[in-house]
Symmetry: none
Subunit: 252 residues, 2 copies
DNA sequence: CTTTCAATTATGTATATACATATCTAAGCA
DNA sequence: TGCTTAGATATGTATATACATAATTGAAAG
């Protein structure tokens, strides 16, 4: 199975009392690996060392390490110990980057603009986008990202205020909602849908296209600890953007 | 790891003495799920029932079921039991792009049609698609895939005959080039580009669309041991297809 | 008839223990 | 020196046990 880093359950805080001990051990080790603190080849502590460190039994440590091994993050060798593996390229495959980075990578000046901001109760259409379990207040945002003088893409976003109440007080004048959210909420799961669509009247105006012009639409739903956080729909003119995914088959 | 079915270690035979017991239980259950014997929603036996069936302790059964749950194949509910989940592993979408499967998953009859087949020397445009290192003969194919009576997508493919000489003698009347190549050449790396485009005159005719209609284009370059094997461009009507990628807390 | 609450049930986690297995180290011997 | 062999060691799997937790059922109370 293409096992990946993202598959490991993410907990907001490693020390959270609500997470189980083995999950906390797993998160701690995974964090040190993905942060680069423990580089590929690094020998992580032996089971009996972790057993002491966390004051638990070997079985508990073993459960965490076995799962990290299945996830491909570490490799376990009898008698030798457990070692951080080279990243298996699979996790970053469809990682979709911050738009500022994308634009600046093209050598163009980036600019962001908030078009509208509306706080309202969730309706049926909103539940369809964010997920069934959303009922309370949410924030609907529309913005536009520029590459130089030309519109690069539009952003249509819903934020679940039950999950991120701080968003209600944020102005989003300087910082785009995407980067702001990343700083506020650690995401634990994401789903991307990539498709083509014809520009409707609103999008056509926003992007300076003819109505019906082909566009690339990238939708992303994000959860944090099982709770829907945000749904965002980026719409790009067809010629402005492509998604690239590169990988080699990884064995786990 | 976009955790997926393929992420679970596969054993040739479930009864193999070399596989551990929990792995055998895991394989047995997984096989029944992927074969369709146990459909989504089916309640798989309780832990205590499996415990009896395999004559082992609950911990062993629990290990197998927990991993299946992390892999997203089953969902476990306290007091209620464990249930087969709807398939949602989308990591395979990018990895295995067999159109027949996609179409049949929609419940529609699949049909494939070869439009043209041409053997020629590589030109500059071909090198652009396949990679710089290609100089000899190649095979250019165009085909169309149907879902029911409607065209589902077009396929425009180049095959490097230096890497796959057997392709020169293949008719491609029954088997589409994609599945045929997978059987011939083990691929070691692939690169995907996903974008939107307006249908040009040829595509419009092939797909029965108006010229300029929005389409989703998926291009894939494949290498085997550093050598370019094939480049393929699938073009879908915008409403026919979307690429989905889900990174979930589901790993094994 | 509805609400409340306790019992039941299946899963979730953690423990101590045991033995198997792969692999490295070092001692012993040719 | 080269080979074999016997520990030592870390992981791999399996067990019995224990208690926690979520969800559902059903009985009692209003």
């Amino acid at each position: 199975m293409p096992d990946s880093i993202a598959d490991l359950v993410e907990a907001p805080e490693s020390g959270d009392a609500s997470t189980s001990l083995y999950q906390r051990i797993l998160n701690d080790i995974r964090d040190r690996i993905v942060s680069g603190e423990w580089e590929p080849g690094y020998r992580i502590p032996f089971e009996h060392e972790l057993t002491e460190e966390y004051g638990c039994s070997r079985m508990t440590v073993n459960k965490a390490l076995s799962q990290l091994a299945k996830a491909g993050l570490i490799e376990r060798r009898r008698r030798s110990g457990s070692f951080v593996r080279r990243p298996q390229s699979q996790a970053a495959v469809l990682e979709i980057h911050d738009i500022r980075i994308e634009v600046e990578a093209l050598g163009l000046p980036y600019r962001y603009e908030l078009i509208s901001q509306l706080k309202r109760r969730a309706g049926a259409a909103d539940r369809d986008r964010l997920g069934a379990g959303v009922s309370g207040q949410l924030l609907a945002l529309k913005c536009r990202h520029y590459a130089g003088a030309r519109p690069f893409c539009t952003e249509d976003r819903l934020i679940n205020l039950a999950a991120v109440p701080e968003a209600a007080d944020e102005e989003f004048l300087e910082t785009a909602p995407g980067p702001w959210l990343i700083g506020q909420v650690p995401w634990s799961a994401a789903e991307h849908v990539i498709r083509a669509a014809a520009a409707d009247a609103e999008i056509a105006v926003d992007l300076g296209l003819a109505a019906g012009a082909p566009c690339l639409v990238i939708e992303r739903r994000t959860w944090s600890a099982e709770r829907p956080v945000t749904h965002v729909r980026f719409t790009y003119p067809a010629n402005a953007h492509a998604v690239v995914a590169r990988f080699t088959p990884s064995d786990s």
